[in-house]
């Protein structure tokens, strides 16, 4: 763990969601397996189930998107989140309604995590009328005011100043909300990230910068592109605290998320979480991923898969009958299939749609 100095100044955070408010059902907390649980994790059976269901939805959705892409229903760019699901789900479990989310182009998971409708997301991927942006945006550009999701942004790093600005608005309105600003290890080298860091700390903005370090910026490994590969230290010169987090363990993510969000919500300023994660698929659909070995990917899938870890705990530690998990699996598949069906048959936008929402 990095950022130890910063961490030592406060105790491991307790829950901030209503459900997990301090004192609430304290007895149901605790790591049933007795080992391996990250500090402050306190995952209940219900938490495990929530995480399992939510991560599985993203996994199956992305697999389906990959299939539809292969069948020609989705054109252009499509960046799958498979492998990284624990990051956004753990963070979302730590956040509370009203907190905003903004991210880059690998955004389908974030949208599903904020509760956006899988049908609307899939229909945007296929460029249809009922897509969240009516086909104007595509895979990388979707939004939902209702879910406080500020987009999908196609330009690497460009969302970071925006997330900082949203946090400014939170402070200005004094609404108690925190902005979760996601970006990758690649984006972390863009200059605008550091301009944002400076302002965020200068004005003590309620923002958590979630750096999803999946080890590869497109085809370039972190070590070939970054002088400082400990991204939790990237805010050090601005005095922004940071932590490295096991981003494959949803419990660790939620625990760190709670610490960071509480810090930001308490008016102490920005916080950086480096999520150490991994993407199983290529950067986009056209990436053969020759810059890493198959063994490396296989090893991560077999030993560190975020969904398998939860599944194993549910079966072994929580003694959940496999049948119950199969019921969840089936339900998730049904939601995804429905979304895919919808996205293939929804009509294309009217020609006049080309001219809406633009100054002419």
């Amino acid at each position: 763990m990095a950022g130890a100095a910063a961490k030592s100044t406060r105790s491991p955070g307790r829950g901030v969601t209503e459900k997990d408010a301090p004192g609430a059902e304290g007895a149901r907390r605790g790591d049933p397996s007795g080992d391996g649980a990250p500090q402050g994790a306190n995952f209940t059976r219900e938490d495990e189930l929530t995480a399992y269901r939510s991560m599985l939805l993203i996994r199956r959705f992305e697999e389906k998107a990959g299939q539809l892409y292969g069948m020609g229903f989705i054109g252009g760019f499509c960046h799958l989140y498979i492998g990284q699901e624990a990051v956004v789900i753990g963070m979302q479990m730590a956040a509370r309604p009203g907190d905003q989310v903004i991210t880059g182009y690998r955004d389908h998971g974030h949208m599903l995590a904020t509760g956006m409708d899988p049908k609307g997301v899939m229909a945007e991927l296929t460029g249809r009328r009922s897509g969240y942006s009516k086909g104007k945006g595509g895979s990388m550009h979707m939004f939902s005011k209702e879910k406080q999701f500020f987009g999908g942004h196609g330009i690497v790093g460009a969302q970071v100043p925006l997330g900082t600005g949203i946090a400014f608005a939170n402070r200005y309105r004094d609404n108690g909300a925190v902005t979760l600003t996601y970006f990758g290890d690649g984006a972390a080298n863009q200059g605008q990230v550091y301009e944002s860091f400076n302002m965020a700390e200068l004005w003590k903005l309620p923002v958590v910068y979630v750096i999803e370090n999946n080890r590869y910026a497109m085809g370039t490994a972190v070590t070939r592109a970054s002088a400082q590969t400990d991204f939790s230290k990237r805010g050090a010169s601005f005095n922004i605290p940071g932590e490295q987090v096991d981003g494959m363990d949803v419990r660790a993510v939620r625990a760190a998320g709670e610490r960071a969000i509480t810090f930001a919500r308490d008016g102490k300023g920005p916080y950086i979480l480096e999520m150490q994660t991994y993407r199983y698929r290529g950067h986009s659909m056209s990436d053969p991923a020759k810059y890493r070995s198959k063994e490396e990917v296989q090893k991560m899938r077999e030993e560190r898969d975020c969904i398998e870890m939860v599944r194993k705990r549910l079966l072994e530690s929580w003694k959940m009958p496999e049948e119950e998990l199969k019921t969840i699996d089936a339900k998730v598949r049904e939601i995804v299939n429905e979304a895919a069906e919808f996205a293939q048959h929804d009509p294309e936008p009217e020609p006049a749609e080309l001219w809406t929402h633009v100054l002419l």
């Binding site: 252009g76 760019f77 086909g135 595509g138 690497v156 020609p351």
Partner: protein, 339 residues
């Protein structure tokens, strides 16, 4: 003569220049080990080593800014911005530094820099992977802007650009990388291996900046085009039967005004086509120049056919793209005087 794709020809151009001149260095995002997302730099790191062909962080401002420093010192950096749409963080460096170095140092320093950028749409890239920002460069004094339309020109123009003492923005229409795309997206593309302009001479040669070329001779109207639109215009001429004279500008700045004026004086009519948006696009400049230089020979108003004044859509790409049907309709209207 060997036939190459446009990507191979561009790679060949860099290869030739790296071989000839130690000052040529190539870098950008995913350019070294990975060989570039469009594979334009594949094999160059293996051949010339990591100090001459290398990966950078995702930092367009840093890439271009560092390249300007190198160029000022006497290197000849040829950098890649992965998509022209990613150029904006670097725009300040391009405009305020690269373009101005010669002027503000009273000629003491120059900036022999090439910035390669894949440009244009047609690959469902949507608003952040499809733009054609050429007018943002032609509007800046001190920059040269080049748009090749085929492998043979691409190599020769790139070599001329690398050898140029001043900064050159080299826009590569990505839809032309594999073949002469004519806008018929629902038909299979002809590969460069079956096109004579896929014949790329070996070794060193230049295509000078500022020399347009007539791709199709004709008497009925003059078409000013560059990049992908050259083939769209060719298709439109073939499909409408309008005897269009199609000029491939190849470089926008310097501009071959002489060739343009000679053709419009001959035909009396002019259609300008580009994929970029209409308002303040490069077509506006061309239109003004034609009007200023050929006013008394013009028999019809100059007509522009371009992308609409909207962001590049994801789903309605082919409604946005000025394809052969829209271009052909303009030809017929301009020729008939029915506008």
């Amino acid at each position: 003569m060997p036939r190459k794709t446009m990507v191979e020809a561009i790679r060949d151009g860099m290869d030739v220049m790296m071989e000839r001149d130690d000052n040529v260095v190539i870098f950008g995002e995913d350019v070294g080990y990975f060989g570039g997302v469009f594979r334009a730099t594949q094999g160059l790191q293996a051949k010339y080593g990591k100090s001459r062909c290398f990966d950078t962080p995702i930092s367009e401002l840093g890439i271009v800014g560092a390249a300007i420093g190198m160029a000022a010192y006497g290197l000849r950096p040829c950098v890649e911005v992965q998509f022209a749409d990613y150029m904006y963080p670097a725009y300040d460096q391009i405009v305020s530094e690269a373009a101005r170095l010669r002027y503000r140092s009273n000629g003491d320093f120059t900036c022999p820099l090439v910035v390669r950028m894949p440009t244009g749409g047609g690959i469902s890239g949507g608003q952040t992977h499809s733009q054609s920002p050429e007018a943002l460069f032609t509007h800046v004094s001190g920059l040269k802007t080049v748009v090749p339309s085929n492998p043979k020109d691409a190599k020769g123009l790139l070599i001329a650009s690398i050898e140029d003492p001043d900064p050159v923005i080299f826009l590569e229409p990505k839809r032309l990388y594999n073949g002469p795309f004519d806008g018929h997206h629902d038909r299979p593309i002809t590969p460069w291996s079956k096109h004579e302009l896929g014949e790329v001479p070996e070794g060193h040669y230049r295509v000078p900046l500022g020399q347009a070329v007539i791709r199709r001779e004709g008497a009925a109207l003059t078409v000013l085009a560059y990049g992908t639109m050259v083939y769209v215009a060719m298709a439109a001429a073939a499909e409408t039967g309008v005897d269009a004279e199609i000029i491939d500008l190849r470089s926008l700045l310097p501009l071959d005004l002489e060739a343009i004026v000679a053709s419009v004086r001959k035909t009396g009519r002019c259609v300008i086509v580009h994929e970029a948006t209409l308002t303040s696009g490069f077509g506006a400049e061309l239109s003004a120049l034609v009007q200023e230089n050929c006013f008394f020979e013009l028999e019809a108003p100059v007509r522009r056919v371009t992308g609409w004044d909207t962001p590049y859509p994801h789903a309605q790409e082919w409604d946005y793209f000025p394809g052969p049907e829209r271009v052909g309709r303009a030809f017929l209207e301009v020729v008939s005087g029915d506008q």
